[in-house]
Amino acid sequence: MPAVKTMSYVLGLRCKECGHRTAATAVHVCEQCFGPYEVEYDYATMRGKVTRESIESGPLSLWRYRDLLPVDRPVTGFQSGMTPLRRADRLARYLGCKELWIKDDSCNYPTYSYKERVVSVAISKAVEFGFDTVGCASTGNLANSTAAHAAIAGIKCYVMIPHDLEQGKVLGSLIFGPRMVRIKGNYDDVNRLCTEIADKYGWAIVNVNLRPYYTEGAKTFGFEIAEQLGWKLPRHTVSPVAGGTILPKIYKAYQELIELGLVEDNAPRMYAAQAAGCNPVVKAIHAGQDLIEPQKPQTIAKSIAIGNPADGYYVWHTIKDSNGWGESATDGEIVEAIKLLAKTEGIWTEPAGGTTLACAIKLIESGRIPRDESICVCITGNGLKTVEVVQDHLPYPEVIHARLDEFDRLMAETEVCTQKSHSGALAEV
């Protein structure tokens, strides 16, 4: 591939561990220490050129932040990103806090998760590098997004997933026509195999050999929060943690905006949310040691069931550097939080989102997050893909004939219990 001359501010790749530098190519592991490479930018040149105005005049998609992304020629994602940042006043009243925001990627386009962000960047980069085949190791959402964006870009796609994913996640990939491989084992098994596949087959596996670029896409979640808040940062941001990509990248986005003078530094704090059945990072945070012990996941929150998080170490340090904290939520608490978000704010999220809200509630109730400061809860996936987790927890209605007397009977019989289950504690909210 001939080098493309562009206005890019990318300097190259730099190892997060040992600082070794290399050119921006399809490498992901430092040849010196095996650490992960990260994209390095020329912030000095950006200053004064990348401004609030330059961003605001960009497209209504994640590509409005292109100057801060490692892509020369986007090939997909033109409608991805710029999801709503919602002020959640009803939920805030219920939780007794003053300023609560929901960043809602459950409606991200086209496959309803935060993954559009990382995939748009990774696939654009794959095409730029001359790959004709992309792939991924996925717990579902990434597979959906990779398959859809590969279809948009018109390139071949292989998705590798654990064998026991929800139907919605499986069909949500297959419909786009990728070659799907279902693998016995959990995500960590799939992940290991994919690393070996990337080595052997020469494909662009978005979260393996394109990882330095892929992870940069996650920054757009943080850029949007800041811009949509009117170029301000929330004081507290609660993010789900699986492999550990998004949380440090939201923080990096905040820091880049501070560095460029686009937002004021309010010492933003980051908080990690994990399922109790898979919480290696939160355990390490509570233990006060940055050694992440891998776990065998056991949770309904399959999209974040990663027992051996590659970037767990960086999540730990982001939490520590920002004076944040971490919490985990049981399966029961996750389902309750999914229902609470739906009933108070009209947002149906998947278990990852339920986990994040459940953990945010714990952090607020324990006083870790003060009730009178601004809080942003990061919702990264859509509940329509995971109907299984709520189907036994909702009052499934009986069937009646189309007759008024039957309707009257039903109303009379169920008035009391309906009020309880549908309004209940939320009535005053």
Binding site: H28, V29, E31, F34, G35, R192, E196, V208, G243, N308
Partner: protein, 92 residues
């Protein structure tokens, strides 16, 4: 007695491009010692300095099981076992 060790692409500069190396030893630690003699220099990537500890981003598997779920470098290995060295990757 030999065990097949899968070498990831970034480490093949130490193995003349070979993706599988036969090594011997009765524990993972011994196996890696032997690997070191067959692929000099590889230890500088696998281990954190002279501490004897594996680098943070090096994951080692015996028959698809992460050695941290077994006995780390004391994990016993036997003829016919398959060992993989894998770099940690991003979530999904």
């Amino acid at each position: 007695m030999s065990v097949k060790v899968r070498i990831p692409a970034p480490l093949r500069t130490f193995t003349n491009g070979q993706d599988v190396i036969d090594a011997s030893g009765s524990t993972m630690g011994q196996l890696l010692e032997d690997l070191k003699s067959k692929a000099p220099g590889i230890e500088t990537r696998l281990f954190k300095g002279q501490t004897g500890q594996l680098n943070r981003f090096v994951n080692i598997y015996v028959n698809q099981e992460d050695i941290r779920f077994l006995q780390n470098l004391d994990t016993p290995v036997k003829e016919g076992d398959e060992v993989s060295i894998v770099a940690a990757i991003a979530g999904g």
